[in-house]
C-alpha cells in the first residue's frame, strides 16, 4: 500500500505540469473571463440597468424554472472546459506513461526498485483514471465557488437575495457532485481506450501518438473500403464504433430537448440505447451494460498486453 502510494506520488511529481498546472490555469482563465465580462458590462452600463432588468425578469420566473435553469447551467457551463482539458491531459499522460522512461532509460533505475511491473502499471492507470479527475474536480469546485460568490455579489447589487432567488433552490452541490460522478464513471467507460493508450505506450519505439492514432484509422478505412466493395454502402466500421462509444459516454457534454425545455445531456443523444438525462442512475446504467462488459474485456486484453511489453522492456 505504501509502495503504491509512493508510485502515485512519483506520477504526480513527474506530471505536475499536466495534472496540477493545467487545471489551475484553466480555472484562473475562467475566473478572469468572468471578471472581464462583468467589467465590460459595468463599462457600457453605468447603473447596471440592463443587468438589473435581467435579474428582475429572472426573478419573475416560476421557482421550478429558476431552479432548473441554474442547475443546468452549473452542470454544463462551468464544467465543459474542464471536461475537455481533462480528456486531453489523460490522453497524453497515458500515451507517455510507459514510453518516457524507456526513452530516457530511467526504466533501468525504476526496475532496480522492489516494485513489480503490475504495481507500476496500476499506479499509472489509477493516476490517469482516478487521481487526474480528482485534482481537476478540486480545482473545478474552487472556480465554481468563486464564480458563485461573484455572482451572488452581483445579484445583491441588483437588490435581490441570491439565496431565495436561486442558490437555495438550485442544488449546486448536487450539480458539482454529478460532474465528479460523470468524470469517474467515464474513467471506467473509457477503460478500453485507456488500455489501448497504455499498450501503445508500452511498445512504441518512437512517436507513440502516431502508433496510437494510425492503426485505428488504417483499420477503419480498410473496413470502409471492403464494405464499399461488397455493398456500395458505408456502415459499421471502427469509426462508427468509436463514435457510438463516445456518444454513449457518461460525460456531461451536450444538451437535448426534454418537455419543450433544453436540458443538459450525457454524451451525445441520438441513439436509443441509453437514457441521456444527467442522473447518477443513468451513469451507472452504462457501467452495468453489455457494451461495458465488451469494453472491459477489450480493455483487459490491452492492459495485459501493456504489462507483457513492460516486463520485457529491458530486453535486447
Amino acid at each position: 500500500m505504501s509502495r503504491l502510494f509512493a508510485l502515485l506520488k512519483r506520477e504526480f511529481w513527474e506530471n505536475r505540469g499536466a495534472l496540477r498546472t493545467t487545471p489551475i490555469v484553466i480555472g484562473a482563465l475562467y475566473i478572469v473571463g468572468t471578471l472581464m465580462a462583468i467589467f465590460t458590462t459595468v463599462h457600457f452600463d453605468n447603473d447596471l440597468y440592463t443587468f438589473k432588468e435581467a435579474v428582475r425578469l429572472f426573478a419573475e420566473l416560476p421557482e421550478a424554472q429558476r431552479a432548473n435553469l441554474v442547475f443546468q447551467t452549473n452542470l454544463l457551463a462551468g464544467s465543459s472546459v474542464f471536461t475537455i482539458a481533462l480528456g486531453v491531459v489523460v490522453f497524453f499522460y497515458l500515451l507517455g506513461a510507459l514510453y518516457d522512461d524507456r526513452k530516457d532509460r530511467s526504466i533501468l533505475f525504476w526496475k532496480s526498485l522492489p516494485a513489480s511491473d503490475t504495481l507500476t502499471l496500476a499506479s499509472k492507470l489509477i493516476t490517469g483514471l482516478v487521481v487526474a479527475p480528482l485534482i481537476f474536480w478540486v480545482v473545478y469546485l474552487a472556480t465554481q465557488l468563486l464564480t458563485a460568490g461573484i455572482a451572488a455579489i452581483m445579484v445583491m447589487t441588483a437588490g435581490e437575495n441570491p439565496w431565495t432567488l436561486y442558490l437555495g433552490i438550485s442544488q449546486p452541490i448536487k450539480a458539482w457532485l454529478l460532474v465528479l460522478a460523470s468524470w469517474l464513471t467515464n474513467s471506467v467507460w473509457s477503460l478500453p481506450i485507456a488500455g489501448w493508450l497504455l499498450l501503445v505506450s508500452s511498445f512504441a519505439p518512437r512517436i507513440p501518438l502516431l502508433f496510437a492514432v494510425l492503426p485505428p484509422i488504417v483499420f477503419a478505412v480498410l473496413q470502409l473500403w471492403i464494405k464499399f466493395l461488397q455493398t456500395f454502402t458505408f456502415s459499421d466500421n471502427l469509426f462508427g464504433v468509436l463514435g457510438l462509444w463516445f456518444a454513449n459516454s457518461p460525460l456531461i457534454l451536450s444538451a437535448q430537448e426534454n418537455d419543450n425545455a433544453i436540458e443538459v445531456a450525457l454524451g451525445v443523444p441520438g441513439g436509443n440505447t441509453f437514457d441521456h438525462a444527467v442522473t447518477l442512475g443513468n451513469m451507472l446504467d452504462r457501467l452495468f451494460s453489455q457494451q461495458m462488459a465488451i469494453g472491459l474485456a477489450v480493455g483487459a486484453v490491452f492492459i495485459a498486453g501493456a504489462l507483457w511489453f513492460r516486463t520485457r522492456a529491458t530486453e535486447g
Partner: protein, 302 residues
C-alpha cells in the same frame, strides 16, 4: 553461507544468435567478482538475466529466487547500477530519496544523506542540473544506503573523469563492502578494478573463458620478461602468449616452474589486462578491441 548466484546452462538467444551460451556459474557470498569480456561477449546480457531484466533459458537462481519471475522481491536484496546516468532527469534529489525510502524496505535515509553531505549535491537539485559525475555520486549514495546482499555494477564509471572513478571505487570498498556482501562488476577499465577484485570471470562469445580467484591467478600464472636472445629458450617452455614490448619479449606461463623461468629473465605477476589478452587470443580472437587492451596493458607495464 549459500551461493549468491548459481547458474546451470544459462542461455540467452536473440533469434539464432546465442548471446549467452550455456554458462555455468557459482558466485558465493563475500566476493568482489569482475565480469570481463569484449563488447558483445554477453556480459550485459548475463547481468540482465541475473537482475530479472530479461528472460533466459536454463537454470538461474539469485539469492534463492528466480529473477525473471520474482524481480520485485529480488530487488529487496539486490541493487544495481546499470550504465551511467539512468536516474530520471526530472526528479529532485529529495524526491528521489523519499521515493526510494517508501519503496525500498532496506533503504536508510540517514546513510544516504551522510554520503551526500560530502558532495556538492543538495536536496533541491534536479538530476538534470547535475553533471555526469555528480549523477553517479548520487546514484552510488542511493545504492550504498541500501542494505543489499548483492550489488551489480555494469560499467558504472563509463565516461567519468579519473577523480570520480577513483573516488567511486574507494567509497565502495571503504564504506560498503563487507564479508556478507557480494559485488559483481563489469567494466572496460580493468586496471582500475583489478586491485579490488577477489574473483575473475572472463566471458567470450557467450561462454566463460576463465573463472578463478585472484589468488589462483597469482599462483598459476607467471609473466616472464626476457631479452630477445633468450626468447627462443623461453618459447621452448610452452608459454600461453608472447608479446614484444620495447625490444623485450614478454611471455605468459600457466603452472610453470618458476625456478626455470627465473633463470631466463625477470618474473612478474601478470596484470588482469595481460591475462585477458592472452586468454582471448588463445581462443583465436584478436580483433581491434583486444589490440586496444594490449596497448593499455603495455602502457601499464611500461
Amino acid at each position: 553461507m549459500t551461493d549468491v548466484i548459481k547458474a546451470r546452462g544459462l542461455t540467452k538467444r536473440y533469434g539464432k544468435h546465442l548471446a549467452v551460451d550455456h554458462i555455468d556459474l557459482t558466485i558465493p557470498a563475500g566476493r568482489i567478482v569482475g565480469l570481463i569480456g569484449p563488447n558483445g561477449a554477453g556480459k550485459t546480457t548475463a547481468l540482465k538475466a541475473i537482475l530479472g531484466l530479461a528472460n533466459f533459458d536454463g537454470e538461474l537462481s539469485v539469492l534463492g529466487r528466480n529473477p525473471s519471475r520474482q524481480r520485485a522481491s529480488l530487488m529487496e536484496d539486490v541493487c544495481f547500477i546499470a550504465d551511467v546516468a539512468v536516474l530520471p532527469r526530472w526528479i529532485r534529489v529529495k524526491e528521489l530519496i523519499e521515493l526510494t525510502e517508501r519503496i525500498h524496505p532496506r533503504f536508510s535515509r540517514e546513510k544516504c544523506q551522510r554520503y551526500l553531505a560530502s558532495t556538492k549535491i543538495t536536496p533541491d537539485h534536479r538530476v538534470k542540473q547535475l553533471s555526469k559525475g555528480m549523477t553517479v555520486q548520487l546514484h552510488l549514495a542511493i545504492v550504498m544506503a541500501i542494505d543489499a546482499r548483492l550489488l551489480v555494477l555494469d560499467e558504472p564509471t563509463l565516461g567519468l573523469d579519473i577523480l570520480y572513478r577513483k573516488q567511486f571505487y574507494t567509497n565502495l570498498l571503504n564504506d560498503y563492502f563487507d564479508e556478507e556482501r557480494t559485488i559483481l562488476i563489469t567494466t572496460h577499465q580493468v586496471e582500475e578494478v583489478e586491485h579490488i577484485l577477489s574473483d575473475l570471470i572472463f566471458i567470450q562469445d557467450g561462454k566463460i573463458a576463465l573463472d578463478c580467484s585472484m589468488e589462483a591467478v597469482q599462483e598459476q600464472y607467471t609473466e616472464l620478461m626476457v631479452r630477445s636472445d633468450q626468447a627462443e629458450a623461453a618459447r621452448a617452455l610452452g608459454p600461453l602468449f608472447e608479446r614484444v614490448l620495447m625490444g623485450r619479449h614478454i611471455f605468459l606461463f600457466k603452472d610453470a616452474d618458476r625456478a626455470a623461468l627465473g633463470a631466463l629473465g625477470e618474473l612478474h605477476t601478470p596484470s588482469v589486462a595481460d591475462l585477458f589478452v592472452a586468454t582471448m587470443s588463445q581462443s583465436g580472437h584478436m580483433d581491434g578491441e583486444i589490440s586496444a587492451f594490449q596497448q593499455t596493458a603495455g602502457g601499464a607495464v611500461a
